[in-house]
Amino acid sequence: MMAEERAVVEVEACTKSFDAGAGVVTAVDDVSLELVRGELVALVGPSGSGKSTLLSLVGALLAPTAGTVRFEGTDLTDLDDRQRTALRATRVGLVFQTAALVPFLTAAENVALVGGFAGMATGAARSRAEQLLTELELGARKDHRPGQLSGGEQQRVAIARAMLNEPRLLLADEPTAHLDRQRGSQVIELVAQAVHEHRCAGLVVTHDERIASQADRILRIEDGRLVDG
């Protein structure tokens, strides 16, 4: 009998406000949620509702104005910048709207690059990068530069990069925004597959309901607050 697994991320009554000159904007307002291993959660909501901000709080990119974010039991506010950087490198996988690959590195080099951030040996990072690219059906493209790859292929490289350091948490902010529906759907499928196979927690931001339906659970956000439904 396995003990109840602890959540990877626990967000408790989190608020994030920005002082945007013309006044204070509350991007995330009193949000609580949990992310557990092996589950892909979709976060949907209209533009400006606070999706990216919430994702950044969860991924140790932003510090909350109020409330706490616990990552595997550690309160992120207790960490300094160096420790947060190390945590991102070793335990969080990030996929952005665009693949954001380094243009002069090959696909495999782009993926292996983050291994160095986590202190992985170059050779090990390299072979794991090639293995991940093969898993994502990009084995034949490993020595191509980003410019030679399609948008969907670039985004798959970005997923491989996010998975390189075997993260506990995979975060994706509208990874399909610049892809057509079919490619977008394929990318989300790969994200779901990565979360299920590697047993990490997953949170993907999208405003496409059909894509959201590929997730295990859907969270809706409006004006910074989670709403039911």
């Binding site: 991924g59 990119l61 945590l87 070793t90 952005f96 983050v114």
Partner: protein
Amino acid sequence: MLLFLTLTLAGLADALDRGSTGVLRSLDADVVVFNEEARLQLLRSRVPRPMMLGAAFVDGVGQVGTLALVPTSAETPNGRVRVTLVGFSATTPAEPTTLVEGRLPVDGEPGIAAVDVALRAHGVRLGDRLVLAGEREVEVVGFVEDSTFLQQPTVWVPPDVWARVQVSAFPEAGFAEQLVGAAVIRTRPSADPGEVAAAIEAEFDGVRAVPLQEAVSAIPGVDVQRRTFTVLVAMSVAVLALVVGLLFALLVTERRSRWATLRALGAPRQLLVATLLVQGVVLWMLALLGGSIGTALLSRVVPDAMPLDLRLPVVGLVGVASLVATVVGSSVALRRVARTDPAAAMSEGVR
């Protein structure tokens, strides 16, 4: 490009400087004594012979020699050139240490000379006879290098030859028997040249004694030249810092989203800064190499009349200065990279 300019300027300055100061630098001496009216000018200096002899007894003085200069001209296989005739007493501190071929004349050996290698360019070879102004003929028995004076090649002869040329060139200057040019002194190993110079001035009336370096910078034009070129080189290094600063600022701003992305993916700040620094240093090395090659090539093609010479110490000095300029120039950009907010990767979206 900028480093090429800087190196060319520095090479030119160095060559000019060396061309002016060769005579004094080729001596193994510590103190030079002039008569007061000469105002530290070798060409004008006439110290009385008794003073010369007496100087040997001043505390701290090791050896004393005489050095006397007079401008004249010499008939070479390639025509008449202006030279500086240097009368020096053999086996004293006034003897040049830069003999590269043949031998030096000894005292009381008239009609014999060692000449600067610069005269080789005018077709002068060992054993040639040079006709100096006043139909005086000397045979070239040796070559010395790096011993020019005010960019002119030198002809080194025993002091009495100098005295006779001097008399025929400037009859009104009077009888030179009792007057010698400047006294050149090598101090005892333990003595301080500055103190010895002061002691000599205290001992004899109407003389001015200075350490060798001071006599070098008193050569006409040397001081001004040095200052001018220092300012020019410093300015081009400053411009370099500015250009590098702008270049890096541009580079960094343009790639801001990439820095943010890498930071978000967990790249430590130091790694990004180090990467940029390495880029800067590589750029610097390439520029220094390119600049050196360019200047070296330029020094091949410029006419001989324009002294341009690139020596390793000059490259080293300019290299260090430009490296500092590179680092200083890029520091603003580096700070900006170090401060990149990883959250920007998310909110700014990535291009």
